[in-house]
Amino acid sequence: MTQRPTWQIVLRYILVLIVVGWFTFPTYWMVTMAFKPKVEWSTAHGTIYWVPQNPTLDNFETVLTEYRGRFFRANQSSALPSIRSSIIVSIGGTLFALLIGTLAAYGLSRFSTDTGELPWYIALGRLGLLILVLLPFMVLWAWLGIIRYWYGILSFTLLGIAVNQLLDKFLALFYRGPTGSLAFSILQLRMFPPMAIVIPVMIMWSAFKLIDTWYGLIAVYGVVTFPFVVWLMKSFFDEIPRELDEAAIVDGASNWGAFFKVVLPLAKGGLASTALFVFILNWSDFLIALLLTTRDWPTIPVFLNSLVSSEIGAQHGPKAALGLLAVIPPVVFGILIQRYLVRGLTFGAIKR
């Protein structure tokens, strides 16, 4: 190998610096802004301060203590309730999704009787048929004026499930072949953009009086992240040889015992990374929390958005301060579990 000319090396470093700078500048700007006094973060004076001239903790004080009536469109004047809300609903939603998702994933991995994928034309036709059948009922429900009430929503949901089942029976009359896989249907739940489902959910939640409650948010977060848990955990369980559970059962464990004593400990790395992933999703959600909370339970992203005062408009400094605080939990969580993020725990147990 010949030595490259110096100018090439220099050019390479310059390019690297530009790219790194491009990506890290927003973070830099947020971190520095969090420590700038108001004169430096507001544009009122027409000067841009690239580096804080007089670092201060004022912004943190502003978001963390009450300035009753000073700013904020939300009815809260301090970020503390929103921090509490974020912590409760993110952790709650994560635990909820992990609980049902992990069990579902184990079931799918070990006991699934899936018969293979439904051909796309049958799947699409079936979906079209479902909508076609349900549409008149929806019109009817609207005409009866019950679609806005909890019993209207409940009855329509039950009707949808019933029609869905009947459709399967009907299909079975002339179609013999794979009937689809449950695991894939669960994945399909994720193909809905949240925007598409959050409005109906909002209507349902208001009918069920779940708007602006911690449990209402946890329920939505749990359901929205459930498919991720199922798919991630299923792939982890699939990697654990079935013979391990079977050996445990033959050795005298119950089915639950085999799961908790043998399989789950082996999947704890996967469980930890799934938990982190789902937690970050919940923690950074804005849209769902925006539509499902009003006064008591807005989360940090929602509160951030409302940090506006009547005097000087957007409160950029306090926003940056709160943003910086919001970065802490996922980062700490990530560092705590990083040893579990390393795969390969099952190495060597099985002779291949």
Binding site: L244, E246, A247, A253, T346, G348
Partner: protein, 386 residues
Amino acid sequence: MANIRLENVTKRFGRVTALQSINLEIHHGEFFCVLGPPGAGKTTLLRLIVGLEKPDAGTIYIDGEPVNDVHPRNRDIAMIFQNLALYPDKTVFDNIAFPLRERKLPAEQIKARVAQVARMLHIEHLLERKPGKLSGGERQRVAIARALVRTPRAYLMDEPLANLDALLRLEMRIELKRLQEQLNETLVYVTSDQVEAMSMADRIAVLYKGVVQQCDTPDNVYNLPANRRVATIVGSPPMNFLTCQVQRTDGQLNLVHSGFGFRVIGSDHPLWDCLCRALPAVQEVLVGVRPEDIRLYPEQPTDVIAFPARVAVSEPLGAETIVDVQLGRDIIKVITPPTQYFAEKQPVWVAFDMAKVHVMDVQTGARIYTTGAPEQLQCILPGTCA
């Protein structure tokens, strides 16, 4: 100790029939081998006995009790899986202790029992390690220890020695046999290695394509194979099969091949009975002779009748040499002592051990007759009869 009985057990996976109407009885304290090529259904048979699969038809009895609906944890049978299935995150001690902990034994008792089994299998020094840090042979022992640590009604082992190197396999074979004699427990041992089956088993069930071909002592399986399949699976290299014409002329019965011929003497001979009275339409039979029951002579011998042939290939293996010989239109394999040297294309004389000649049905492969004594069949040279 337990007596395991399978009655008409059938197991299907979708369109594949893994086991077809299995009838077996495994006795108390027996070393029972299931021998079969890959895909024969051996693993499926063990999984049925231990309860991890349910039969589609038939009944499984343990000590006379039907267990079809008994959960595997309550069948009290220990199984060593084909891939061992050691718990990778647990230490060797915890692996071996697992069955005892599931039975809620007191801690001191568990400790004592594990130590005892570990000593028996020479793995005391490994107890604190995880399975990933063990050699293949050590893992094998840990898996055996996990099965031996409790006193189940029977042990099932699925090709436990398959992935060990040849030397270790030999060693473990002897150890396992000794262990079983000590324990005097029912042991169902699955293998695709006929040497393992022959050397260890009290009885062997030969399984092929989900059907039990023969279930008998190693001696009988080797000397009186039920059919062509068994004769192929047991023995290495497998038995030679030669298609012979059946000639029934003027009160004589001859089996004639392009390279040799046999004459059946006397109308009270069992073959006469079979081929002239029971199956008078049969035109061909298979004559089977094992490679170890054939002799090669460089010159025509004077004391035995030998047939002229020609060497095709010679394969020296050290302790013996396997020679492929062109006999008539067929090629047969012959095991010869290494002291004899045969060059390619060399003319030789082939003599059969006339006490060990098998005759089988061409269609079904079922064995019709085995000589047992040299005088039963008379050799005739080709071309000396019609």
